[in-house]
Amino acid sequence: MKKVLTTPITSADVEDLRIGDVIYITGTVVTCRDTGHKRRVLSGIVPHTPLEGGAVFHAGPIVRKTDSGWQMVSVGPTTSMRMEKFEKEFIELTGVKVIIGKGGMGEKTVRACVENKAVHCVFPGGSAVVAAAEVEEITDAEWLDLGMPEAFWVLKVKEFGPLIVSIDTKGNNLFENNKKVFAERKEKALEELYPKLNFMKY
């Protein structure tokens, strides 16, 4: 059974999610990346789309202008770590509950997820057509002055995912944990491999 969260998402909705869980979102997702985060946090300019209980997607989409509005051509996650500097303040200022991107995030975001009951999720990289197909409609576009990738696109989505929880409300961080696990496994794998690599003559 798919676990689908519908926006506006509440603290109770995300509280019991744990790293490794797979979820989907139905409702509203907005795209916001480097410059958008900076603008929201540093300038105090507030988008008119309400973000309370919403989801923010670290992505710079390819969008086509149509007669009636905009069409989503391709949208894939970008590396979330680039938003680490501003994400905590962004979560506090906006009340978003789900942050979506690629790869892990750092200590500051983890703290914000614990304090504000929010989660960070990974959308599988390189699956831009799936993501675009799950966007039913682009309902609004703000901050177009920042250019197409950096603009603030408001997306109506249906079962948007899979989203894999990588930071949960208890402060668990999947990518941080993995780093340690992978390092240990690597040492072990290399120890076992070395005796087979005796190509050097002496």
């Binding site: 490794g20 869980d21 797979v22 989409p61 390819i62 051509v73 391709s74 949208v75 894939g76 590396t79 690629k102 790869g103 990974v122 599988p124 990289g125 390189g126 699956s127 831009a128 057509v129 799936v130 675009a132 197909a133 899979p162 894999i164 990588s166 999947l174 990518f175 993995n178 696990v181 992978f182 390092a183 496994r185 690597k186 072990k188 794998a189 290399l190 076992e192 491999l193 070395y194 087979k196 690599l197 005796n198 190509f199 050097m200």
Partner: protein
């Protein structure tokens, strides 16, 4: 249509195909890894990849938004009729494919630090030649070098005392430290050479060899297999989330070296390993080797 036009339009269509459809060997390996995957979140990622591949074909869209820097690796017969014009013809084909596919504009002029807006620029598309004597054919690999999978590439020259153990460590360290964000499971191309340039070049060649192929030298093939097993033991899984495997393959290419230098290069390809191989004869009739049933 004259030969040049036929060549340009075929290459342009082929580049578009490569952006939208993965080569047969990569699809087969992904299917194998998907079937063997046991971790639920990793399964969800594989399912998503396959859905994405199907949708890309159905909607005729590039399967990843990053269509990379376009690169051509040519094995060109010295009697191939268009041998003197390959550079401008491939430039033209790239421009057409960029417009038609469409491909993302991924060429930023260095120093000026400006996106050219055409997906072409100084030495982009990137072309490497190998001459084939007494042949009138051209065999070309097309590769889309995405940003994410280009980032972790490394090369170094080790002291020979580091041995092949040093080479394995260099590859494993790079994979764990930088490969996790390059959309695994990864193609791992390793070059064993004598200087940074030769090792890096061999690594790139290795990454373009078919998934599931083995180096004809049994010693090298043995290391490919052993290193592949070792890296899979780290089990970084799809997207580095952890899972049951790490890589699509480990391919190694090698050459003789200076007694005092042991070069190693490693080049990665992401799961969306957009590589295609096409052969032209002297009349510009083509055969696609990488994608069965490819209609251009």
């Amino acid at each position: 249509m004259d030969k040049s036009e036929k060549f340009v339009s075929t290459v342009a269509s082929f580049v578009g195909l490569v952006a939208k459809v993965l080569p047969d060997d990569v699809v087969a390996k992904l299917a194998e890894l998907r079937a063997a995957e046991e971790v639920p979140m990793a399964k969800a990622v594989y399912d998503c990849m396959f859905e994405n591949m199907n949708l890309a074909v159905k909607l005729s869209r590039p399967l990843c938004q990053d269509t990379g820097v376009i690169q051509y690796f040519l094995r060109v017969g010295t009697h191939f009729p268009l041998i003197d014009e390959l550079e401008p013809l491939l430039l033209k084909a790239t421009e057409i494919a960029t417009e038609k596919a469409p491909l993302r504009h991924n060429a930023v002029e260095t120093f000026k630090e400006k996106n050219t807006g055409t997906n072409t620029g100084k030495k982009v598309p990137y072309i490497e030649y190998e001459l084939v004597p007494n042949s009138d054919k051209l065999e070309a690999d097309v590769y889309m070098a995405g940003g994410g999978c280009s980032l972790p590439g490394r090369a170094a020259v080790l002291m020979p005392s580091a041995g092949y153990e040093g080479i394995a460590k260099f590859v494993a360290d790079t994979l764990v430290e930088f490969g996790v964000n390059a959309c695994p499971p990864l193609v791992v191309g390793v070059g064993v050479g004598t200087c940074v340039a030769s090792s890096a070049k061999l690594a790139k060649r290795a990454s373009l060899r078919k998934v599931g192929s083995r180096n004809p030298d049994p010693l090298v093939a043995r290391m490919e297999e052993d290193l592949e097993n070792a890296l899979n033991g780290i089990a970084i899984g799809p997207q580095g989330l952890s899972g049951s495997a790490s890589v699509l393959c480990v391919n190694i290419e090698n050459m003789a070296r200076h007694p005092s230098a042991l070069g190693v290069g490693v080049a990665f390809g992401c799961w969306a390993h957009r590589r295609g191989t096409i052969v032209f004869d002297a009349d510009m009739n083509y055969t696609v080797l990488s994608h069965k049933e490819a209609a251009l």
